[in-house]
């Protein structure tokens, strides 16, 4: 191995250690017994492994309920966003129609405006619609993802128009075109977007914090944040809670690594 290669790997290894150390600590923390959390730097001797932190976690807060809430809201959000964004992206990619330009400008402006400026009136709006403290209040406002529309537009642009024309000549309705011809080819982008959207909803904190009041509806970030506030903090349980909360996203990422990366960079690199 040449010297340059060794240095390269050393640098990479160093960075990897920096990146992964907190995560390793997290994993170690979840299985340490009640007194060991700060006693051992990373892992305690295997004989002292214990599920105490998980037991504490589940007994202190309704964690399972929070997780199910998160799955429901994130899942529903992704599915809704998927349908609306891909339809919208399709329209923008493959059709010419009046209002196309203004819509694209509108989309751009939405992306630039920080969401927080709209928090207050959106809360009032939700309150007037009677959606305060409800799941719909979380799902509906975010039902169309502008970012998603851009992504899908970008990736659908490459679809050959002849294919669509052929379909039309065969008597396919536009919807059928979308379903049978366009979508199957978009699977990688769909995979990427699903992960991005899922992550966004799963980790979302600010809006659910404002909208949700009943503990039974809390999602994981809010539920876990509650533990941070209690006056006698149980760090071990918090770590167990964090670990479990991160797992679904990590697993999803594993499934979709390649698509995710290509989807993420599609807008940036091609532009």
């Amino acid at each position: 191995m040449s010297r340059a290669k060794i240095m390269l790997y050393a640098a990479l290894a160093f960075c990897t250690v920096l990146m992964l150390t907190p995560l390793v600590w997290l994993i170690a923390a979840t299985i340490k017994g009640p007194d060991d959390l700060f006693h051992y730097l990373f892992f305690s001797p295997p004989s002292r492994f214990s599920l105490y932190n998980f037991q504490q976690l589940f007994s202190q807060i309704p964690y399972v309920r929070f997780m199910i809430n998160s799955f429901f809201v994130a899942g529903a959000s992704v599915l809704v966003q998927l349908i609306f964004s891909s339809l919208g992206g399709f329209a923008l990619a493959k059709y010419e129609f009046k209002g196309k330009r203004p819509i694209m400008v509108l989309m751009l402006t939405t992306m630039m405006i920080p969401a927080q400026v709209m928090l207050a009136p959106m809360y009032e709006l939700i309150y007037m619609m009677g959606l305060v403290d409800s799941y719909l209040g979380l799902i509906i406002p975010g039902a169309v993802s502008v970012f998603g529309m851009f992504l899908f537009r970008q990736s659908m642009l490459d679809l050959p128009d002849d294919l669509l024309q052929a379909g039309r000549i065969d008597g396919c309705t536009e919807l059928r075109l979308y379903w049978d011809i366009v979508l199957p080819v978009q699977r990688p982008m769909i995979g990427a977007f699903s992960l991005i959207a899922f992550m966004g909803s799963w980790n979302n904190f600010l809006w659910p914090q404002i909208v949700l009041h009943s503990q039974e509806r809390f999602t994981l970030p809010i539920g876990l944040n509650q533990m941070v506030g209690l006056y006698a903090q149980d760090y071990g349980a918090m770590m167990a809670g964090t670990f479990l909360a991160v797992m679904p996203v990590v697993l999803l990422f594993f499934l979709l690594q390649k698509e995710f990366i290509s989807g993420l960079t599609a807008g940036a690199v091609k532009g």
């Binding site: 007194d35 959390l37 700060f38 006693h39 309920r65 199910i68 809430n69 799955f71 429901f72 899942g75 529903a76 992704v78 599915l79 998927l82 309150y127 305060v132 799941y135 379903w179 049978d180 979508l183 199957p184 699977r187 769909i190 995979g191 699903s194 992960l195 899922f198 009041h213 009943s214 503990q215 039974e216 509806r217 509650q226 506030g229 209690l230 006056y231 006698a232 903090q233 149980d234 760090y235 071990g236 999803l252 499934l255 979709l256």
Partner: protein, 448 residues
């Protein structure tokens, strides 16, 4: 089209299908376990589990004494009580009948014209039933606004110092000889080794430690008339006294965090003593079991010989909301939970919290020797100090004031670390007035 593989049947691909399945499963679960609308006649919200657990235990006896009623005690997490209560008051959604509110938050609910306050005035019923004089009077102050008392005090929360008796003995410290803070600080300077051992747990980044000193000296954030006094001479003096205790080379205190971290700190002798209101003594017993028999309590050193040897930290009130359709029944709930002497004794054993009802302290439970605390009679120690507990006065801006004060403490600590006594008084004075001025701006701005 006959040879489509299974995957082709899923138009969106495997990830979305997986997500769909999970969502459906979750949705089914949620549909089957909806958020229950309470069917109770009386609903009480509280924010602390060491309150909710004993209350829930008391529910059956209440329902037995008042047939036909159903009492629902709900534990709502700390911050959420305030936001939910506020949302409820605004929107008339889901207002409970009785609510426990923490002392620093209570004032914010007294904002606006008296008719707008979401709680009812308890003075009439307290006087009528005679409880008014049986309760430690200074404890009404934090829940009083413009002559009306909006909350029943849950506690007195006198403060003492909890200390590692074994370590004190090892180091030859004579607890009985400590009469004033001067004595205490002198000892602190001798035994403190920064990074290894501090005589006392004291915070330099929030106001809770500082407040203890301030209240002990009869200072506070607001006075009885609701005027802001956080920047008066007394506060400044206390600040000048306090900061060198937590910053600089002669400090005697530091802080780390709570829970497991604090446990380790006490076990290792990192903190030899700490501020201990009655509730914290129970937290100690639960969280630091290994120190059983090695701990003891001592009254706070006085500011001057013969002066007050306690202070106060924390508090809870129980309010009856204006929206409650049956205030008489709500009062019965309050009475049952707060004034039932037999229950109070049991509760004291379970939580160490001294009730504000003075005649309840005659119960033998308050004279029991506690092995954890080296055989001391914990109840009597706190009860003897109860009448001395200084008052705290309410204001809608008390939380703002506390936050600003915490800022003053942090900034002063930083200054002192870097500059010592050089120019410190001027800095502290200026910072304190600036903080008070910020609070006054809020007062001026707020039409409510």
């Amino acid at each position: 089209m006959a040879d489509r593989s299974f995957a082709d049947w899923l138009p969106f691909g495997k990830a979305p299908t997986l997500i769909l399945v999970i969502t459906l499963l979750a949705g089914v679960y949620l549909a089957v376990n909806p958020v229950k609308k309470s069917q109770a006649t009386m609903r009480l919200w509280t924010f602390a589990s060491n309150h909710s657990v004993p209350y829930q235990k008391a529910v059956p006896s209440f329902e037995a004494n008042n047939p036909g009623t159903k009492l629902d005690v709900q534990l709502v997490h700390g911050d959420a009580v305030n936001s939910r209560l506020r949302a409820a008051f605004w929107a008339d959604l889901d207002v409970p009948d009785l609510v426990e509110v923490e002392i620093s938050r209570a004032g914010s609910f007294f904002r606006g014209p008296p008719d707008d306050v979401g709680f009812i005035d308890l003075v009439p019923i307290l006087k009528k039933t005679g409880y008014y004089d049986r309760i430690v009077k200074t404890r009404y102050a934090p829940y009083t606004s413009r002559g009306k008392i909006y909350g029943l005090p849950h506690d007195v929360h006198p403060v003492v110092l909890a200390y590692r008796r074994d370590l004190f003995e090892e180091l030859g410290i004579d607890v009985d000889a400590i009469k004033t803070w001067e004595d205490f600080v002198r000892i602190g300077r001798e035994v403190t080794i920064p990074g290894e051992r501090y005589l006392m747990e004291l915070s330099d980044n929030n106001a809770s430690s500082f407040e203890m000193f301030l209240f002990q000296r009869d200072g506070g954030y607001f006075d009885a008339e609701g005027q802001l006094i956080m920047d008066n001479e007394l506060a400044l003096e206390t600040l000048l006294f306090f900061i060198p205790l937590v910053a600089g080379p002669e400090r005697i205190g530091s802080d780390l965090g709570s829970g497991r971290v604090f446990t380790q700190a006490v076990e290792q002798g990192y903190f030899m003593s700490y501020i201990c209101p009655d509730w914290r003594s129970k937290v100690t017993e639960t969280d630091i079991p290994r120190m059983a028999g090695k701990m003891a309590l001592m009254p706070l050193p006085a500011v001057e010989e013969g002066g007050r040897r306690t202070s106060t930290w924390g508090g809870t009130m129980l309010g009856i909301t204006r929206a409650c359709p049956n205030p008489e029944l709500a009062w019965k709930v309050a009475e049952h939970l707060y004034f039932n002497k037999a229950e109070l004794a049991e509760r004291f054993r379970a939580t160490n919290i001294l009730p504000p009802l003075k005649d309840a302290w005659e119960h033998p439970a308050f004279d029991e020797a506690r092995p954890y605390w080296s055989g001391q009679k914990l109840g009597r120690i706190y009860a003897n100090l109860a009448d001395d507990v200084p008052p705290q006065y309410a204001s809608p801006l008390i939380e703002t004031a506390k936050t600003k004060m915490a800022g003053v403490i942090s900034a002063s600590a930083v200054y002192y670390r870097e500059n010592g006594d050089d120019g410190f008084e001027a800095f502290a004075r200026e910072r304190l007035s600036a903080a008070a001025e910020e609070v006054r701006r809020y007062i001026r701005r707020n039409p409510y």
